[in-house]
Symmetry: C2
Amino acid sequence: MKPIQNFSQLTDHLRTFEQRKRVVVVCPDDLNTEYALARAIEEGFAEFLLIGNSGVLAKYTRLAKYSEYVKVVHIEDPEKAAIEAVRIIHEKKADILMKGIINTDVLLRAILDKDKGLLPSGEILTHLAVMQIPSYHKLLFFSDAAVIPRPTLQQRIEMIWYAIHACHTFGIAQPRISLIHCTEKVSSKFPHSLDYVNIVELAEAGEFGDVIIDGPLDVLTSCERESAEIKGIASPIEGEADVLIFPNIETGNTFYKAMTLFAKADVAGILQGPIAPVVLTSRSDSGLSKYNSLAMACLASK
Amino acid sequence: MKPIQNFSQLTDHLRTFEQRKRVVVVCPDDLNTEYALARAIEEGFAEFLLIGNSGVLAKYTRLAKYSEYVKVVHIEDPEKAAIEAVRIIHEKKADILMKGIINTDVLLRAILDKDKGLLPSGEILTHLAVMQIPSYHKLLFFSDAAVIPRPTLQQRIEMIWYAIHACHTFGIAQPRISLIHCTEKVSSKFPHSLDYVNIVELAEAGEFGDVIIDGPLDVLTSCERESAEIKGIASPIEGEADVLIFPNIETGNTFYKAMTLFAKADVAGILQGPIAPVVLTSRSDSGLSKYNSLAMACLASK
């Protein structure tokens, strides 16, 4: 498989799937979500079960003509809608869970419920995003911009595993993973830089398979060969990172938002850890961003 | 004074100064530094004392013709060069200290020396940067991308004061200062968000004068009006931030480097706190970046 290097190639790849992915959407209620759903139906890779209030379909005129691929269950209460969607995933009647206009906390409560939720014991819930940046020559994955405030070493290791699996589904045979800090120096003042030393040792011992992991590194030396050369930093990443692992949520979130606003990056993101990928869009995401996230989830659920 | 909204206007403003600023440069030894110095001389707002090894001027052919504005002191040892530069600032024989190709730690040790250094007791050393972003309609200041790992409340207050003073020298009468986090919610899980509550209270009580301070806010709601509106966040920043105060150094540094690499931002930065502005460039900074930082320092030393 040739590596997928942008979102257009992602859609091309999904078109080759023989079976549509089954997506359950909790409380769809906005036109950006409708855009994402309609386009995924038109591209041929998804079909939908909408769980929400009864006014939805009246609003969704573009979706109306795709009744073959859109079923609706009317549940007015968002909390009950979330619980029902989780149940449907458990019964394997859907492959992917997608958030509409519902409070994130309410949806997460249903996903994280110990008895009836979607997170197997021992798994962690983390956010993985992927960005198409006009000024970078390939897709850039990063974690975690949305869920884990201060990852432990074990959580960082899991985040890296999820990123590696995602890279593989995108056709990246040997992912280059950069552990982000403000400098390349390890210091006990920054506990995450000590974690990075452990992780690099694990990678060198072959623990993660065929990957290149290095850090601490800053964003410049991770993504621009010249910067590393000028500073005399010899990193096997060689300014060609596929994945950035951020030290904390403020850093990941700031990167996410600065890049979408100022660098005109398109972004997709999913939750990793649950038994099915979860598309956790934000109210302010564009239709295109919701569509890209849905596409990413459909690839991940393979 | 009309607000300075980009680096070209900054140079225009500096041209109106009657007196050249006197800049002492420690260990100049690269062509990007020479570009910055030569251009500042040509624009008419600075003159230089170079302290470093004796090979410098042989390399600096563009500077050679400006002997009226360039004096040289030969000191081979970088540590001694740094100490001499600090002494010269103390004697008020220079207005600004600029770093050439010398290890940052060595220069900082001379600046922070308790007896002979440049940091008055009670002041803090912090980094203030300002960016010209093609996709933003004005300059954007931010702190701290380089010096203080985890600011205390008192340090955050000082950082804000330095940013306010800088905004005033740039002609921004009522700076809008955004306290950055990954969300607008205050939580004891994130101690900096509690600091922000204190700071906003101080600002509302008039402690910082004529400013608008709000937070916690993310980068999107700080710099884009529509994002705040869609999310229903009513902030007096109104998506028009002049200043971003980052929660920690990893976040500030990641913003700095992602913006210069991916959003094609031009950036200038100086150290605040010492009795004179310090231009602390990095080996990998472009000539233009070094020039802009020098220009920022010349404005700040007014």
